[in-house]
Each structure stands twice: as structure tokens, then as C-alpha cells.
């Protein structure tokens, strides 16, 4: 106990240590506040679109009941908002959310060409990337750990205290381990404080997810302390330690993620999914020049739920035919859409595999999964829009195909989009991965200690 007290006092007197910890804590709290402001803005944007949506519907409601011809027009003009509702954690872990539109609107026309809308945003900012708490944790915390503990031995040696201590204490490696544990413990405390601050400042709750994220974060911290420990065990100069550490960090943070991306892109043809737009467009417009009645008959064959409709199309124009063809334009590109989906998920999986080699990548993949801000979430959003579009079709087609007037009461039953997050996460895999890397370095440390004594 007295040793700990002594070391703590020593650390407290160390200005660098104090300032680094303080800077880390401050940056983290700032990142939390910024993240929360960003999240609240997303909610505000959603409110704007909802207010506008309700006002638009209310306009139509004034003219209700609408005959099918008019309600057909309504569906042509009426957009329905869809939103990939952010989780509370996305305030801290922005992930891939900037890469695709998370809030957009769809109408009853062919869906796929509506989904290719880009997100608004400052293009110049995209290559630089965001500074959120997850960046601080994932990329900067290892450097903090290095600054705190990398040169414990080298500094003690340089100051001459080491020979004194080593002569008094039987096991000098044990002493060093203890010193590192104290630094690690303090950092862990600070990290817990940050996590608790997140509970206070954001909508994050102190639930199972919180504990899982805390556990993963501590495992990550442990992993980097072990890497640092290995470097110390080499018993080289402080300079060598720093250079070796920074090289490792660059490999984990820059080289491996970069090569993983390169490998992912090598698996794809550039912009291969543009054909989706081509095919959909050709189909949609060719249908105007084809025998409309024949196409409509074929549609009714394929979708028997609408068969009891009046089989003859109205002239010169019939919404039933129009929406049926819009739907078919999605159907004929279904395979390309499935392939697009597979490319995305596959690419995500490759990254996830490479992450076994880099604790940094592993934590990032894991964090983005926790916050539901990764590719899987974005794909789930697209899938759910597809389902939602189906619901809209089922709902509105009833009026068009069975000649039902759209009454005042029917507005309330228009399906609403409600994003369902992908709820699985990789806690155990992540901790296992991080411990595995940690154990690898423990092995190296043991090897090195044996070599040191020989």
C-alpha cells in the first residue's frame, strides 16, 4: 500500500503526466459534448421532416375522400421520410454514418433509383474525417499509454534511481510491473470517468451495453500496456522505445487499415452497380412504348393478390399500370441489388478479418458495431426501406386496385418507417482478439525476460 501511495505521489508531482491526463480527459469530455450536439441536430432535422410530412398529408386530407385517380396523384407527389435513427452511442462513435444518407425520403415510384441519393455534407471535410470520442479512444489512447509508461525504466535508469531501487527490491521486473499497473489503473479510472460523463451528458444509459463497452475499452487498454511492456522488456534506450512504438502504431493504425481497404477494393469492379440505374431506367421507359394491357396482365399473373381488380386498363392512363411498372422496374434489378448488398457486406467482412491483426482496427469495428454505425447498420437501413416500400405498396395498392376512395381516416393508417437497429455485437470476439494480441506480447515479454537473465 505504501508503495502505491509513494508512486501515486511521484506521478502527481510529474507535470507531464498530470497535463497529459488532464488534456485527455478534457478532449474526451469536449468530444462527448460535440457528439451530443450533433446527435441532437439529427433529431431536429427529423422533426422538421416529420412536421412537413404531416402538413403535406393534412393538405391532402382536406380534399378527402380522394377518388383513386386523385389518390394516385397523391402517391406520385408524396414523399415518406425514412431515417436511420441514431443510437445514443453514435454521439460518441460516429462510425460510417457520413458515408451514406441516413435521413431521406421515398415515394411509391421505383425504389432503387431513389436510394442512390447522396448525403449532403462538406466534401472537402470527407478526406480529413471526424474527431469524435471513438477516434480519441482508438487512435490517441495508445499514444497516451506510451507517453505514460514507455520510458518508465529508461527514465529511472537515466535518473539513477533505478540502480538504487533494483538493489533494494528482489525482483526488479516485479517492481516495474507494479509501476505500470499503477499507471494503467489511473488511466482506467479516467476512462471510467469519461464513460460516466457520457452517461451524464448524453442519452447513454448505464446498462449492459455500457458495461460491455467499458470492458472492451479496458481490454484494449490492457493490450497496449502489454505492447508497451514488451518494448520496455527489450531494455533498450528511451529513443529506441519511442521509435519502435510509433512504428507499431503506424502499422496498426495506418498500414493495415490501408492495405485492408486496398484488398477490399481489389475484390470489386469500379462503380459496377451503375448498371442498376441503367436497367431500371430502360425498363421503366420502355414500358411506355410497349403494350400496356399485356404488361398489366402479366403483372396480375405474378401478383395474384391484385387479381380481383378490374382487368381492363383505363385509357389513356391508369395509375395501376403505372405503379405496377414502377414496381417491376425494381423487380428486374433485384439481382443487381442483391449483389450490391453482398459486395458491401463482403467488404465489411474482409475488413473485419484483417482486424484480427490490428487491435486498433478490431476496436474500431467493434465500437462501430456497438453504436450501430457500421456498414451492417447502413445495409439494414436499406433493407428496411425495401420492406417499408413493400408496406406502402400493399397499403396504397388496395385503394388503386380495388377502386376504394381514400377517406379522411385512411391517412392515419399510412405505414410509418421505424428503423430497427441491428442488435448483435462482438463483445466476446473483441475481448478474445485483444487478449490474444495481449498474450502474444506476454509471450514475447517472457521470452525476453529469460533472454535478459541469460
Amino acid at each position: 500500500m505504501r508503495f502505491i501511495q509513494f508512486e501515486l505521489r511521484l506521478l502527481w508531482q510529474n507535470k507531464l503526466f498530470k497535463w497529459l491526463m488532464l488534456a485527455y480527459l478534457l478532449a474526451a469530455v469536449l468530444a462527448i459534448i460535440w457528439g451530443q450536439i450533433g446527435l441532437e441536430r439529427e433529431y431536429q432535422q427529423r422533426t422538421i421532416s416529420e412536421v412537413n410530412y404531416q402538413a403535406e398529408l393534412a393538405d391532402y386530407q382536406e380534399d378527402a375522400p380522394l377518388v383513386p385517380y386523385d389518390s394516385g396523384y397523391m402517391s406520385y407527389y408524396q414523399f415518406h421520410p425514412v431515417w436511420q435513427k441514431p443510437s445514443a452511442w453514435s454521439a460518441l462513435i460516429h462510425g460510417e454514418r457520413s458515408e451514406a444518407a441516413t435521413h431521406t425520403r421515398v415515394r411509391l415510384l421505383g425504389l432503387q433509383s431513389q436510394l442512390s441519393n447522396t448525403a449532403t455534407g462538406n466534401i472537402a471535410a470527407m478526406p480529413i474525417g471526424k474527431l469524435d470520442l471513438s477516434f480519441i479512444w482508438i487512435y490517441l489512447m495508445p499514444l497516451l499509454i506510451a507517453a505514460l509508461s514507455l520510458n518508465l525504466l529508461a527514465e529511472e535508469k537515466a535518473s539513477g534511481r533505478w540502480s538504487l531501487l533494483a538493489s533494494q527490491v528482489a525482483n526488479s521486473a516485479m517492481l516495474l510491473t507494479k509501476k505500470m499497473l499503477i499507471a494503467a489503473g489511473l488511466l482506467a479510472v479516467v476512462n471510467i470517468v469519461i464513460l460516466l460523463a457520457a452517461v451524464v451528458l448524453t442519452d447513454i444509459r448505464l446498462n449492459g451495453l455500457w458495461w460491455q463497452i467499458a470492458a472492451v475499452l479496458l481490454a484494449y487498454q490492457l493490450c497496449w500496456f502489454l505492447i508497451t511492456g514488451w518494448i520496455i522488456s527489450l531494455q533498450r534506450t528511451a529513443i529506441f522505445n519511442s521509435l519502435l512504438f510509433i512504428s507499431l502504431w503506424i502499422v496498426f493504425a495506418f498500414v493495415l487499415p490501408g492495405l485492408a481497404y486496398l484488398y477490399q477494393t481489389q475484390q470489386q469492379q469500379p462503380a459496377e452497380h451503375v448498371s442498376m440505374l441503367f436497367d431500371q431506367r430502360e425498363y421503366m421507359h420502355d414500358s411506355w412504348d410497349k403494350d400496356k394491357q399485356a404488361d398489366f396482365d402479366a403483372y396480375l399473373q405474378d401478383y395474384p393478390q391484385w387479381q380481383t381488380t378490374e382487368p381492363t386498363l383505363q385509357q389513356p392512363f391508369d395509375w395501376r399500370w403505372y405503379y405496377a411498372m414502377q414496381h417491376m422496374s425494381d423487380v428486374i434489378v433485384a439481382e443487381a441489388v442483391a449483389q450490391f448488398r453482398e459486395s458491401r457486406v463482403n467488404s465489411h467482412q474482409i475488413g473485419n478479418q484483417v482486424a484480427w491483426l490490428s487491435p486498433l482496427m478490431r476496436l474500431q469495428y467493434s465500437m462501430n458495431r456497438f453504436a450501430d454505425t457500421d456498414m451492417l447498420a447502413s445495409q439494414a437501413f436499406l433493407d428496411q426501406i425495401g420492406d417499408y416500400h413493400q408496406q406502402l405498396r400493399d397499403y396504397f395498392f388496395t385503394f388503386y386496385f380495388f377502386g376504394k376512395p381514400f377517406t379522411v381516416d385512411d391517412f392515419a393508417d399510412i405505414p410509418q418507417f421505424d428503423y430497427q437497429p441491428v442488435s448483435f455485437n462482438n463483445t466476446f470476439k473483441t475481448i478474445f482478439n485483444l487478449l490474444l494480441v495481449g498474450l502474444f506480447f506476454v509471450g514475447l515479454i517472457l521470452l525476453q525476460t529469460r533472454r535478459n537473465y541469460d
Partner: protein, 472 residues
């Protein structure tokens, strides 16, 4: 004086030549850069080819379309594909982050999000893996690793005192060492650019690309020089090697990684943008404010009808020599396009405000300056993308306008929907002929960051030459 400096530089180079660090780092980095350049080159050529083929397919399909009603053709629309700059393989700029296919049709300004690849770029938190990133982000680290102790080491070992007693000034020492590390940077850059030129020579090279590439080389050289001076100065200022290394690493971390990200995050906080849904809503609301072409009682269009009737001296739209629907369509298109362009400009104005704020921070981050210049030189900056988008919208408007003209002149008002114009009339419409901006057009973007960078360089050189003979 000159002699001494060259002698110092030569000595430093020999020392580095014998050191492990350079022997390991330089080849490793060169291999990595060459590998990346090769694979980016190959992907870039694939992409350019794919985009060209898409464009040809689009044009062929347009030409092959049957006789169509002009408004049908206006909705059928056309696609344009942005062909990326041939220098993207060195600095990819915004290219991996934006969609490069635009679908142009009546009433709507679509931009497609089909990026070159579907993979996420979010995991490259320190920067997209490209030649430019290696030069601008990683190479400074290598310079730090090589030279952090170049002066502080001499001081700690006492050799500095010896040198001064031999009549060599610290100033000469610093300049000599700067020269040595600049030469190492030069070799590094030369190898990379020779490889790059080798790739470029495999295709048709335009004069403007040579100029752009030359500018990039000079920029990188300046940037490396600035970093070399920084490292040497820090090494001179710090008492111990460890202090010098820590200070330099912290400086690198702040100016290359933290400040740029922080600046953009701060700018985004300060000047928030509407998201996609809200932007679309705002645009639609603005259009509705001007006039709704589909509403027969709309005041704007009633007024417009009176005006057109008066112009032709008739009292009924049926008596007009042109098809009223086509005229209305064009008026509607004019409103949509004007409002959209205005709204989009507002959006870009917000982006511009954000970039302005960042450019203030950039005064203190040579990386941000060099990064911006590099992407301008490579024609992969945000501006080049927006220029293309803007030109495409201009083209879209004119394209639809021509179709509306066909509608007004070739289609009778009675039984409008059943009529068509011939394929030939559609084929004769003007095609998109995009001219990308030249470096001369972009001088206003270039000179400011360039001047700041030069300013820092001058300050650095001044500091070097003002260094006093302190031995400990």
C-alpha cells in the same frame, strides 16, 4: 562558408547511410509507396475505362431510343460520368468519397451516390492510403525519426563544443544538416515520381498534367524542406534527445492529425448543414412558393398564361401557335432549376463557411495547406468535383429546355400525350462536353495557402540562420 556547410551535409549523409534507421525505413517506405501507386494506378485506369464505357452505353441508348414524346424523353433522361483526373493515383483527394455518376432528368437534380468502391473509408483514421498521404503524413515522421537527435545528440555527446571550437558555427551546422535531410527527401520524392512518370507514360499525357505533376513535386519538396527545418530547429532547441523526440512527435500529432480533424469538426458545429431530407424539403418548399405548374389555379402560372397569350395576341391557349403544355413545362423547369441552383448554392455557401474557418486554423498546420494544394494540383479537390456537378446542372437545364422546345413546337396541344417526336430529333440534341478548370483558373485558390506555406518556410530559414552558438 559554403564549403563548411557542404562538408557538414556530406558528413551527416554518411552517418545516416551507415545507420540502421534509414536502411530499414527508406526501402520499406519506397516499396509501400510503389505498391500503393501501382494498385491505385491500375484501379484508376480501370475506373476511367469503366466510366468511359458507361458514358458510351448511355449515349448509345439515348441514340437508339424509339420515337418518343419529348416529355417522356425528358424523364428518360441521360447520365453523365465524371472521369477522374489522371493524377488521382498520387493524390486521390475527394474521389473515393463522392459518387461519380449523375443521372439527369426533368424536374430533378439527382446526384448518385455510386462511389468507385462500396468499401468504407472510415477505418483509415490517419488518412486515405495514397502516395500523397505517405508523403504528407508519414514522411515527416520518418524525418523526425532520422533527425530528431541530429543536433541535440551532438550537444549531449559534447561533439557540438568540439565543432564550435573548430570554428564551425551552429548556424552552419543547422543549415548543413537541413541540406542533408532535404537531399534524402529529394531522393525519396524522385524515386516516387520516376515510378509515377513511368505509369503516366503508358497513356496519353496532356501538357496540363505535366504542369500539375511538376507543381505537386515542387510542393512536396517545399513541404519536406519545411519539415526538415522544423525537425532540425526542435533538435537544436531541446536539451535532450528524448525531449526533442517527444516534442516533435507531439507537434506532428497536433498539426497533422488532431488540428485538421478538430478544425473540420468545429466548423461543422459552427455552421451546420441541413441533411438530405431537409434539404429536399426546403427546395420543394421554395419551388412551391414561386409557383406550382401542376396547379391550374396557381397565381404565378395564371399570370404567366396571361402574359404568353398577350405575347401571341390570342385569347385562348388552344389558339396558341405553340403547345401550351410544353411552354408551361419549360416555365416549371426554369423555376425548379433556378430554385435548386439557389438552394444548392446556399448549401455550398455553408460548406464554404466551414472551409473558411478551417483555413484560419490552417495557418498553423502546414499539413492542411499542403494537403489542400496537393489536391488542387492533382485536380481531385472538392472544387473540381463541384465544378463538374455545376456544369452538369447547366447541361441538364439546357438539355431539358431543348426537349421542352420540341414539346412546344412539334406536339399539338390537342391529344398531346399520343404524339411523338422522331428519334432523329432526339439524337440531334447537344451532348455534354465538359471542360475541367485549368490551373490558371484556380490561381485564386492556390496563392493564399502557397504564400502562407512560403511564409513559414521563410520564418524557418530565418530561425535557422539566427541560431546562436549555444553549446549546452
Amino acid at each position: 562558408m559554403m564549403q563548411t556547410i557542404i562538408e557538414i551535409a556530406r558528413h551527416e549523409l554518411i552517418t545516416q547511410w551507415r545507420s540502421q534507421t534509414l536502411k530499414i525505413l527508406l526501402p520499406l517506405l519506397l516499396v509501400l509507396t510503389a505498391l500503393i501507386a501501382f494498385s491505385h494506378w491500375q484501379q484508376q485506369q480501370d475506373f476511367i475505362e469503366a466510366q468511359t464505357i458507361w458514358q458510351q452505353q448511355n449515349d448509345a441508348e439515348w441514340d437508339a431510343q424509339p420515337d418518343r414524346h419529348p416529355h417522356r424523353a425528358a424523364h428518360y433522361g441521360t447520365m453523365v460520368f465524371r472521369i477522374i483526373s489522371p493524377l488521382s493515383f498520387i493524390d486521390s483527394g475527394v474521389n473515393p468519397f463522392v459518387g461519380n455518376a449523375l443521372f439527369l432528368e426533368a424536374h430533378r437534380q439527382n446526384s448518385s451516390s455510386f462511389k468507385q468502391y462500396v468499401s468504407s473509408t472510415a477505418y483509415m483514421g490517419l488518412g486515405y492510403l495514397s502516395g500523397a498521404t505517405i508523403i504528407l503524413v508519414i514522411w515527416p515522421l520518418v524525418l523526425i525519426a532520422l533527425a530528431f537527435n541530429s543536433v541535440s545528440g551532438e550537444r549531449v555527446q559534447g561533439t557540438l563544443r568540439q565543432l564550435i571550437s573548430q570554428g564551425i558555427s551552429v548556424k552552419q551546422l543547422l543549415i548543413g544538416k537541413t541540406l542533408a535531410y532535404s537531399l534524402i527527401s529529394l531522393v525519396f520524392l524522385l524515386v516516387i515520381f520516376i515510378i509515377a512518370i513511368g505509369f503516366m507514360l503508358q497513356t496519353q499525357v496532356h501538357g496540363s498534367d505535366v504542369l500539375r505533376m511538376g507543381s505537386m513535386f515542387v510542393l512536396y519538396l517545399f513541404y519536406c524542406l519545411l519539415w526538415t527545418i522544423t525537425v532540425i530547429l526542435f533538435s537544436n532547441w531541446c536539451r535532450t534527445n528524448q525531449q526533442s523526440l517527444s516534442a516533435l512527435l507531439l507537434f506532428w500529432l497536433l498539426t497533422v492529425i488532431v488540428m485538421p480533424k478538430m478544425a473540420y469538426s468545429l466548423a461543422e458545429m459552427q455552421y451546420p448543414m441541413p441533411d438530405r431530407a431537409v434539404f429536399d424539403i426546403q427546395t420543394a418548399q421554395e419551388i412551391a412558393k414561386v409557383g406550382d405548374s401542376h396547379n391550374p389555379d396557381d397565381p404565378h402560372f395564371s399570370e404567366f398564361r396571361e402574359k404568353v397569350l398577350a405575347e401571341y395576341g390570342v385569347s385562348r391557349i388552344e389558339d396558341l401557335p405553340v403547345n401550351w403544355r410544353g411552354v408551361v413545362m419549360q416555365e416549371g423547369e426554369r423555376i425548379t432549376s433556378e430554385v435548386f441552383t439557389q438552394q444548392y448554392e446556399n448549401l455550398m455557401q455553408i460548406a464554404e463557411q466551414q472551409n473558411q474557418l478551417v483555413s484560419h486554423v490552417a495557418w498553423f498546420s502546414p499539413y492542411l495547406l499542403a494537403n489542400k494544394l496537393s489536391s488542387i494540383f492533382a485536380a481531385t479537390n472538392a472544387g473540381s468535383f463541384l465544378h463538374y456537378e455545376n456544369a452538369a446542372e447547366q447541361f441538364r437545364f439546357n438539355f431539358i429546355k431543348q426537349l421542352n422546345q420540341l414539346h412546344a413546337e412539334q406536339i399539338d396541344h390537342a391529344h398531346d400525350r399520343e404524339q411523338k417526336v422522331t428519334n432523329e430529333q432526339l439524337v440531334n440534341l447537344q451532348q455534354f462536353d465538359y471542360q475541367s478548370p485549368t490551373l490558371q483558373n484556380e490561381l485564386n485558390l492556390i496563392y493564399r495557402p502557397l504564400l502562407i506555406l512560403l511564409g513559414w518556410l521563410i520564418i524557418g530559414v530565418l530561425l535557422l540562420s539566427r541560431s546562436r552558438n549555444e553549446v549546452d
